[in-house]
Amino acid sequence: MTANYPFLFGIIFFALGVYGILVKKDLFKMIFGICLIGYSTNIFLVLLGFVEGGSVPIETAGHPIVVAVDPLVQALILTAIVIEFAIVMLMICMVIRLFQIEKSTDGNLVATSINE
């Protein structure tokens, strides 16, 4: 049962992220919400690969591995983190450009239907 507690962190992060996107009225805070959702996914994936009593999956001379955690999910989230980083940077750049034009980072700029 205690092994499931860490998953709670993922769920809390996810809930915070959804809160950030839905409730906050500032584009930067909404982007933080997006980040939190991404991090919650990453935490979740790492925990899926966790093995009780597992060690780091790197074998060195004289220290053979008995039980190791799954290295594949760690490789996956490493890739996902890089991608998320790039996209979040791009979004922040776009928000900055938008701020230069509109002099505002109001979330309603994006949340409403955009007509000519």
Binding site: L48, R97, I114
Partner: protein
């Protein structure tokens, strides 16, 4: 021959990098790189299609690592067809954008991102690994956001951000789903996962979670109602050739991923509700798209809503679960890509002429712009499925698929929606081209008209001689549904 599979990803990646590095100094060099690599891609895609149509599935192991450990690329007829369509439409859009974007700043970056986008789309289509698919889908997304916001005005930036927000949440769900899939099957290779799911040894509850999460991500990216809200803002905001690619190809690539996950990994027999659920979502999507397109006055928004409607048809075809239905969906992906690309390019020509997107301010353009008028009418009729144009055959196959699986009410709704589409396009045609208008425009560069004419001719040709494309799509649907050949080739077990 399987080494060929690397090229559809590598060539545009190199072309994109070259465009970004040296494209600034010479326009001609940049066009040469973009057009040359697109032509090369068409050649490669034709060769791959020829091989796969002969009943073979090509599979390449990256770095020589055997699956399921290593990443593999795998191409069957469905993927090869999409490769060909992607290369063809992107070539025409590159040619079109030469004149369309003349005088704008940062065009070399546009061309560079465009080639990266092609690399991403080709990657999604050729990959045989779920996580690799996620990476390529993200490449497609990260190239699409700045291309939507290319002009950097308030509208464009807001549309790009909206697209980014929704798509980013969707892709997080996709990643979560990939995690669940790995947790239950212990593999990321699609063929291997399919084999394990068929054997029934995996935990079916976790598998359902995985399917729900993956589909949630893909439904956002393929603009299925009620997750479509980004599309009518994002697609019109982009420059017209980019709108053509977004509407014609990018959403189709997400639909392809959906078909691949549903058919190859899970199999339509995985759950009884899966097929009907897809059909229901498809109906909701086509009705949403059609009814909202009916009231638009902005030409590009109208086309964007019509794209949503067509995605509904594609989804319904996949959901019907019959060979005919999936064949229809594949064919509709191709036909709609050609027709909608043509319509967006025509819209670009009209905007170039008049400087407005409002259809109420157009009118009476028939005499001035006969080529655009013909193309718009042909494209509209093709999207609504009027014989003898290409869209008729694909929609007919989707109807037959729905009929075969006993879904009579969805069939009636689908036919009704097609009629709505006809009304939408005839109304738009009347607003733009008929009536009396004052002549007020300059001419259109020939380089912008050539892609429109090429697409026009192709739409008519496929409509009048549907034999060969029908054979191709039938093969694609059969391979997609039987999936034994795919699994055996990828995993390297003999038949």
């Amino acid at each position: 021959m399987s080494e060929l599979l690397v090229l559809p990803v590598v060539i545009p990646l190199f072309a994109g990098a070259l465009n970004a590095l040296i494209g600034k100094f010479s326009d001609r060099l940049r066009y040469g790189i973009s057009i040359g690599s697109s032509l090369l891609l068409i050649g490669i895609a034709s060769i791959i299609l020829r091989i796969t149509f002969g009943g073979e599935v090509l599979s390449y192991r990256l770095g020589g690592w055997p699956p399921p450990t290593g990443i593999c690329l795998a191409v069957d007829t469905m993927s090869a067809l999409l490769l060909l369509v992607i290369s063809f439409v992107s070539l025409l859009c590159v040619v079109y954008s030469i004149s369309y974007l003349k005088g704008e700043t940062g065009v070399h970056l546009y061309d560079s991102l465009f080639m990266f986008l092609v690399a991403g789309m080709n990657g999604v289509v050729v990959t045989g690994d779920v996580f690799n698919m996620y990476v390529f889908l993200e490449i497609v997304s990260i190239c699409s956001y700045p291309l939507v916001a290319f002009r950097c005005g308030s509208t464009e930036l807001r549309a790009g951000l909206k697209y980014a927000f929704l798509s980013m949440v969707g892709m997080s769900f996709f990643l979560l789903g990939v995690g669940f899939l790995y947790n239950s099957t212990g593999t990321l290779n699609m063929a291997d996962a399919g084999r394990i799911i068929q054997a029934g040894t995996a935990n079916s509850v976790v598998l359902s979670y995985a399917l729900i999460c993956i589909m949630a991500g893909l439904l956002v990216n393929s603009a299925v109602a009620p997750l479509h809200t980004w599309l009518p803002d994002a697609h019109p905001a982009a420059p017209s050739p980019m709108s053509a690619v977004l509407s014609g190809l990018v959403v189709k690539v997400s639909a392809y991923s959906m078909a691949r996950i549903v058919c190859t990994v899970y199999g339509l027999t995985f759950s009884k509700v899966l097929g009907p659920l897809l059909v229901a979502l498809g109906l909701l999507t086509m009705l949403t798209g059609a009814f909202l397109a009916l009231v638009q006055t902005d030409i590009k928004r109208l086309l964007a809503y019509s794209t949503i409607g067509s995605m509904g048809f594609i989804l319904a075809g996949i959901g019907s679960g019959t060979t005919m239905g999936i064949q229809g969906s594949t064919f509709h992906v191709i036909n709609h890509a050609l027709a909608k690309a043509m319509l967006f390019l025509v819209a670009g020509c009209l905007i170039h002429r008049l400087g407005t997107r409002d259809m109420r301010k157009m009118g009476g353009l028939m005499g001035e712009a006969p080529i655009e008028a013909t193309a718009f009418l042909l494209g509209g009729l093709a999207v609504s499925g009027v014989p003898p144009l290409n869209g008729f055959w694909s929609k007919l196959l989707i109807y037959i698929g729905l009929y075969e699986s006993g879904m009579y009410l969805p069939l009636a709704i689908a036919i009704g929606t097609s009629l709505l589409f006809l009304a939408i396009y005839l109304r738009a045609f009347k607003l733009i081209f008929l009536g009396r208008g004052t002549p007020r425009t300059a001419g259109i560069p020939k380089l912008m008209l050539a892609p429109v004419v090429a697409l026009c001719v192709l739409t008519l040709l496929i409509g009048i001689f549907p034999g060969m494309p029908l054979d191709f799509t039938q093969k694609a649907a059969e391979q997609m549904l039987s999936r034994t050949l795919y699994t055996q080739t990828v995993l390297g077990v003999g038949p």
